[in-house]
């Protein structure tokens, strides 16, 4: 080897060249994997976004409903319903934590029944209950059993509805939405792991010569595994960024569209159902986290497959 040791050559004064990755960057398997990870991340991000929107809307509805109670005063024979309503209003106003008490007038009650009984109705002849809307002060929780007892004691035919059944239904609905969302995310994660497993096996088969050559020139297993892991981490990150990025763009577009058409009837309906389509920091943070998870899962799965394959090869 003396010949090439002593040959005069220019000193290596140039900066280090970017080294070509040992595992080839581009392959059909790699492109397909990027597509699969992108689709999975996109679907996962949509699911997460939908769950976050439902949770936010349910929470808003829930707090809206929980801030109000209704006292119903049914007409009782030999009792003047107006004076019973006045008594109920006085009891409610005397309760701590109550911000506003507003009895519905007879005309307002008639308007509430119009969809079912038609207009121009005279309620004097019908035993129509009267409603009193009680609004609770923010952050306050009135003593409902005491209020209920007081109403029963002082007002004939009065009942208190604190909308608990509605709140419970909404909590159940929100929990169901989260459960369904988490199940879908779990299935997508499994599908992604399986896809990456097959892709890694394919890549290992395609790069068998590379693995063998690396082995024969003295590369340790962890060095070889690191080359594949880096390759798949980049593929996973690319797929995750594409899928997550498209999902984020869609949510931003939806939010912009809803805000723009907020004045129209359709816009109001959509806003009532999904809120403003704004995911907030939590939603966007979760989608960003999913991009990282997609890349991490891709890298970890491929590392496991590569290690298993190397153990078999050895």
């Amino acid at each position: 080897m003396t010949e090439f040791q002593h040959r005069d050559m220019p000193a290596p004064d140039q900066p280090a060249r970017a080294e070509t990755p040992i595992v080839p960057k581009t392959s059909i398997a790699g492109t397909a994997l990027v597509a699969v990870v992108a689709i999975m991340t996109f679907l996962a991000a949509l699911t997460t976004g939908a769950v976050v929107l439902v949770m936010k809307s349910a929470s808003e509805w829930q707090s809206e409903v929980a801030r109000e109670m209704t006292i119903q005063v049914r007409p009782v024979p030999n009792r003047n319903v107006d004076s019973e309503v006045a008594k109920a209003v006085a009891v409610a106003r005397a309760t701590n934590g109550v911000a506003e008490v507003r009895p519905y007038t007879q005309q307002e009650s008639a308007r509430l029944l119009e969809p079912w009984l038609g207009s121009g109705l005279t309620l004097d002849d019908l035993p129509v209950p009267r409603l009193i809307v009680v609004r609770v002060q923010d952050g306050q929780q009135p003593d409902l059993p005491a209020l209920r007892d007081e109403l029963t004691r002082q007002v004939a035919g009065a009942t208190l509805d604190d909308h608990r059944s509605w709140v419970e239904r909404m909590q159940t609905m929100a929990k169901s939405a989260v459960t369904v969302g988490l199940t879908m995310l779990g299935l997508m994660l499994i599908a992604m792991i399986l896809s990456v497993t097959f892709a890694t096996r394919g890549a290992m088969a395609t790069n068998r010569t590379t693995v063998e050559v690396l082995h024969f020139i003295g590369a340790r297993d962890r060095y070889i595994a690191r080359q594949f892991q880096r390759h798949f981490l980049l593929l996973g990150l690319k797929g995750g960024l594409i899928g997550g990025g498209i999902a984020i763009a869609l949510f931003v577009l939806a939010q912009f569209t809803v805000e723009r058409f907020m004045g129209s009837a359709g816009g109001e309906e959509i806003a009532a159902l999904f809120g403003s389509f704004s995911l907030g920091n939590l939603g966007y943070g979760l989608i960003a986290l999913q991009i990282v998870i997609a890349a991490g899962v891709t890298a970890a799965t491929s590392r496991a497959v590569v290690n298993r394959t190397l153990a078999t090869v050895s």
Binding site: R7, P12, Q14, A16, E19, F216, R220
Partner: protein, 227 residues
Amino acid sequence: MVLDAETSLVRFENVGLRYGLGSEVLRDLTFRIEPHSFQFLTGPSGAGKTSLLRLLLLSLKPTRGLISLFDQDVATLSKDALAALRRRIGIVFQDFRLLDHLTTYENVALPLRVQGQRESSYRQQVTELLQWVGLGERIWALPPVLSGGEKQRAAIARAVIARPHLLLADEPTGNVDPNLAQRLLRLFVELHKSGTSVVIATHDIALMDQYDARRLVLHEGRMHIYE
């Protein structure tokens, strides 16, 4: 590492190898490869040359017997220790096994890269070696555009770049014309003179006749040695 003059690079003691439940393809092999030695490994096709090379490369384990490399019993070594041993062995494959997506330069530099050396630290060494084997103009070419002879020389350069103590070459002249075969043999002889032990597996009688060296002849799984 400086090797003791008395230490054998390779020691086989009654080594036998069989694949699965078949009969033994290698039987009772007992031989040594000494430092600074040169030998041809020969024999008819199917005699077990490639199997023996795979045993030497630690990619197969013997069914019986003892194999010692650099004074270490390979049966007791961990995977990391086996990898460390392989770094002291250079191998030239019959089918070259160059990585098609890496340039000639990167293929030759691969053993040093795997050892964790920085590109700037070995650039001059790799460039010089490529010029020495006549590939100075093909440094940035990819293997698919190299001729058979160029690929062979790149494979040899890759095998010797990390200055191995032992060089194994499997039919290194099998794909080249006699003229180039002679040049490649001269290359191996130069490497031998610089201190590397060389084992060339070949069934090319004409090639062996060009250089007077020890011959390890495999026949029906057994080895006959002609000093």
